[in-house]
């Protein structure tokens, strides 16, 4: 039995660049940075004082205080992004999506802010004053459950926590569910809202973050010789994925096809990528094979491109290993240069970027790429968007833990 083809029919997002898909895309192709000094809490004691925050979003205004206060911020963002995606897919009039729709969400650290608040209350006021909603806010599957409740999603649900590969894995596992006929439609996405004083401190302790506090908008410099770490970001992005037959029978516009998924594990080190990006190479090869294409068919790569010294070099090596000579010709970019690192929300966001790049025949740039690095010598689309007919786009995501997830998207 041949596998069913999987399409994307709806997109929704809230992220440091915009609170909907069209604003986000416009800022992406204009090379706008969504990174700035942190406003959510006092950073005066922290070694890093900037991040990519979602702006102009008040959960009380959006869903009412009584509902909003029951959810962690990641839950607010997840419901918001899902609502846009469902509307885009022509599903906004459905009372409940029902048993033939699944949900797969990715997150790196779930409701970590709720965890921190509960621990503080416990220490300051004792066990009897701990927020009774703490567990339902902090559990990593909180967004998955809250979105399912809100929109009546009764099919299978999964929450994937493979760190910064989480929502790329979510899109990939959603593809598998639809291909194999388990359900006809999956709400797939990822959310992170883990920018707290503790997580900043902890990531800074392992020297993972950029410390360019004086120039937040220029701090994230993927593939630049002066890159010094990633920048924390928050946001949620949701894709409505369904079988091609389902989309055609509903008569809705198809953005593109989710054609390939490759997932591997380095089994090497808990944070550092394997030498030469060995695990990434295998994931890329698997994704290409799954899509039934060869490396030379790829027109655009949305890189993981975190702006850490180790990732960008090893990812470059991995691309060279798989693509050979073609590696120097292909258009690559890291949109993290503008959003910061959305962690568990990154894979879904970058899946969206890949799909929009195909739709608009345009490659969003890698901003802040000014000083070439001899170890990163590919075409990373520095600083300005370029027009390009894209039939096939690939998105790389790699996570702490050694998780590698690669997705291939096609126009037809």
């Amino acid at each position: 039995m041949s596998k069913r083809r999987v399409v994307v029919t709806g997109l929704g997002t809230i992220n440091p660049l915009g609170n909907n898909v069209s604003d986000t895309w416009e800022n992406l192709i204009n090379g706008v940075s969504g990174i700035d000094s942190i406003t959510a809490f006092d950073t005066s004691e922290l070694p890093v004082t900037f991040a990519g925050e979602v702006k102009n979003f008040d959960a009380n205004d959006y869903m009412g205080k009584q509902h909003a206060r029951k959810l962690d911020r990641s839950g607010h963002l997840s419901i918001y992004a899902t609502e846009e995606a469902l509307k885009d897919a022509g599903l906004d009039n459905e009372e409940r999506l029902g048993p033939n729709v699944g949900i797969v969400f990715g997150t790196g650290i779930g409701g970590i802010g709720a965890t921190e608040d509960a621990v503080r209350t416990f220490d300051e006021r004792g066990p009897s004053r701990v927020n009774p909603l703490a567990i339902t806010q902090l559990m990593p599957n909180s967004s998955t459950g809250q979105v399912a409740i809100k929109f009546g999603i009764e099919g299978p649900s999964l929450t994937i926590t493979t760190a910064c590969a989480a929502s790329a894995n979510a899109v990939g596992e959603a593809k598998n569910m639809i291909e194999n006929g388990i359900v006809d439609m999956v709400v797939a996405g990822g959310t992170e809202s883990g920018t707290t004083s503790m997580t900043i401190a902890a990531f800074a302790q392992i020297r993972a973050l950029s410390t360019k506090n004086d120039s937040p908008q220029e701090a994230c410099k993927p593939f630049d010789k002066n890159r010094d770490g990633f920048v924390m970001g928050e946001g949620s992005t949701v894709l409505i994925m369904e079988s091609e037959e389902s989309a055609k029978s509903r008569g809705v516009e198809i953005y593109g096809y989710v054609s390939g998924y490759g997932s591997t594990t380095d089994a090497y080190h808990i944070t550092a990528p394997a030498e030469g990006g060995a695990g990434a190479v295998k994931a890329i090869e698997k994704a290409l094979k799954d899509a039934g294409i060869s490396a030379s068919d790829v027109d655009y790569i949305n890189a993981h491109g975190t702006s850490t010294p180790a990732n960008d070099k090893n990812e470059t090596d991995a691309i060279k290993t798989v693509l050979g000579e073609k590696a120097h010709e292909i258009a690559i970019s890291s949109t993290k240069s503008m959003t910061g690192h959305l962690l568990g929300g990154g894979g879904a966001f970058e899946s969206m970027v890949s799909i929009l790049s195909i739709k608009h025949s345009k490659v969003a740039p890698t901003i802040n790429l000014n000083t070439p690095d001899e170890e990163c010598d590919l075409n990373y689309t520095p600083n300005n968007a370029v027009d390009l007919e894209i039939n096939t786009a690939m998105s790389n995501s790699f996570g702490f833990g050694g998780h590698n997830a690669v997705l291939v998207f096609k126009k037809s």
């Binding site: 009584q66 206060r69 009774p132």
Partner: protein, 79 residues
């Protein structure tokens, strides 16, 4: 404290702390059906009462509390 003073404090707490619409909070309002306070929410309500009135409420005192009025009367009896 008079019953109506207790009610005003309870109403204020529901509106300010829990985000419930003021016009919904009457003595007759049912906590679960009218105010959408579920089993998790009840624990929050009790915590808020304890902080506001400086009292302790045992779980078994709540078995007969289904409306705002019943909660107000329970609080009034403990003050």
């Amino acid at each position: 404290m008079e019953v109506n003073e207790v009610f005003e404090k309870v109403k204020n707490l529901f509106v300010e702390e829990l985000g419930i619409d003021a016009e919904k909070v009457t003595m007759e309002a049912k906590l679960e059906e009218d105010l959408e306070i579920d089993s998790l929410g009840i624990v929050e309500v009790v915590m808020a009462f304890e902080d506001e009135f400086g009292i302790e409420i045992d779980d078994d005192e709540l078995t007969d509390v289904g409306t705002v009025g019943q909660a107000v009367n329970l609080l009034h009896s403990k003050l």
